[in-house]
Amino acid sequence: MTTTASVNTGDGRRTGAPVVSFENVSKNYGTVRAVADLSLDLYPGETVALLGPNGAGKSSTLDLLLGLRNPDAGRVEVFGTTPQEAILQGRVGAMLQSGGLMEEVKVRELVKLACDLHPKAFPVEQVLEAADLTGIADRLVNKLSGGQEQRVRFAMATAGANDLIVLDEPTTGMDVSARQAFWGVMREQTRQGRTVLFATHYLEEADAIADRVIVLRGGKLLADGSAAEIKAKAGARRIVFDLDQPVGEGALRELPFLASLEMSGRTVRIQSHDADATVHALYGLGLYPRNLEVAGLGLEQAFLAINDAATAEEAAR
């Protein structure tokens, strides 16, 4: 696939045996292709964000990684063994959106269960504290809010010393401060050398936290690299300015290297494949742009640009 960026970070992180290895993995649900010939490796100590639009195969990929589903073709290995075996060894902790909680039990009882089941468990009180559950430890699980439930799931995923932590949309339902606290705890985990893989809808989270971003689309690998590399791969920069006089959109459309153009009132937003040439031509039109800003794309825009390019490519076929 021409759009796949294969990246070697070269910072020495990718040494040692892969933590997770997907080899030509495919999974279909009836006629729906959830994961298509996916190959990827995760290495120790990486913090990896899994991005993609709804239906891109993120959850299916995580299900396969955790052995909750078996692939139709290909091979999934976690720590050189089957996902099930890696989980039984207590090397993997996971927090799933679809993971339900036991009802009619107290938060502390449930967290204690997770600790007792873990071969390398932390003390219960410590796990409760880290997930900010100490204050509600005696509440019944079925009486919690969405964000509180999410924290209980997090506590269950971090009940012991896992080498790999898998999180599916972990901060959904959390408010901003809870989200920040959550990533604070996660950073502490990666500092201790753990590998973290998380799927998210919040691209700013991926941008701020992940040192590697994997973009899926239609169950296929669309891009794989650092956030900076993904942005560079989108191959565009963003130009924003105000016009000091009304100008027809048609004239601006003539600018070279234009990827997109958007006007609202006098403010113009352009994505350009060569920002220097576009700005130069702008002056050439006799315009005098005010408040001119030239910047790289945010991860979100880069993600959309890559996604749009892939859609266009498919349509052209």
């Binding site: 902790g93 996971a94 799933l96 993971g99 339900g100 909680l101 036991m102 009802e103 873990h118």
Partner: protein
């Protein structure tokens, strides 16, 4: 594993409605059915009185209620809510979940058996020939209920959502009536009696009835129950694995 069993028991006991129906319902039903019967008359074709016969039947019925209905509904519900998925992300082996469910169900079935026995002995004055028969009866009814706990697990994996309750009750009532738990099978027509003899509930009740007359349980009944246990546990294991692959 021990924590899971303990937790399953705790939450079962917290569900007051379930405990009430599982523990007291069979005893109440016993009084309704055997309440008017006399201790002097023998049930046709047996050497037992109705109050004695029904004591074993209702204790068996109560034990089945606790393990079968409790398990199938809980498992179906927990599957739907994703708790089973969550548990599979822990180091608990799959069979651990099933074992915990069976164990916690047994905790409710024991008082259900004892309640029927107590009512029968106190209210109806049921007496057995030898003292050993009481613990032997409790033990065999309790142990035999494991067969139905396994059936409950299988149903819990077979049916889901709204279907689980009707499916459970159809199987449960059919087995209870056919097996003679509600009325002696001697009242059935011949063709139905020959079918009834092969039901797990009949073999289960027969365990207790053999002990009642002072015999050891018949090998045929024990064998039949073991075969059913293997069948139900096998089905449960197969359905559990299928649940993994399902899309």
């Amino acid at each position: 594993m021990k924590t899971l069993v303990k937790l399953e028991i705790t939450r079962t006991l917290r569900n007051k409605k379930f405990v009430f129906f599982s523990v007291l319902y069979p005893a109440v039903l016993y009084l309704l059915i055997a309440g008017g019967a006399s201790n002097a008359e023998l049930v046709e074709g047996t050497k037992l009185t109705l109050p004695l016969l029904m004591m074993v039947s209702m204790a068996s019925f109560g034990a089945i209620t606790a393990v079968l209905v409790g398990n199938s509904e809980k498992i179906a519900k927990e599957r739907e809510k994703g708790w089973v998925r969550q548990l599979r992300l822990t180091a608990l082996p799959g069979r651990g979940y099933v074992a915990a469910k069976v164990a916690s169900a047994s905790v409710v079935s024991l008082p259900a058996i004892l309640a029927v026995f107590a009512i029968a002995a106190v209210v109806k004055g049921v007496r057995l020939d030898a003292a050993w028969q009481w613990p032997a009866l409790v033990g065999s009814i309790w142990a035999g209920s494991i067969v139905f706990a396994a059936l409950g697990v299988a149903i819990g994996y077979l049916a889901s959502g709204d279907a689980v309750r009707p499916v459970t009750f159809i199987i449960y009532f059919a087995l209870s009536i056919l097996g003679g738990l509600w009325m002696p099978t001697t009242t059935f027509p011949d063709w139905l009696q020959s079918i009834a003899k092969w039901t797990p509930t009949h073999a289960y009740a027969a365990l207790g009835q053999a002990i009642e007359v002072g015999d050891a349980p018949h090998l045929k009944d024990v064998g039949l129950l073991v075969a059913y246990l293997a069948l139900f546990a096998g089905c449960a294991a197969w359905l559990y694995r299928k649940d993994t692959r399902k899309g």
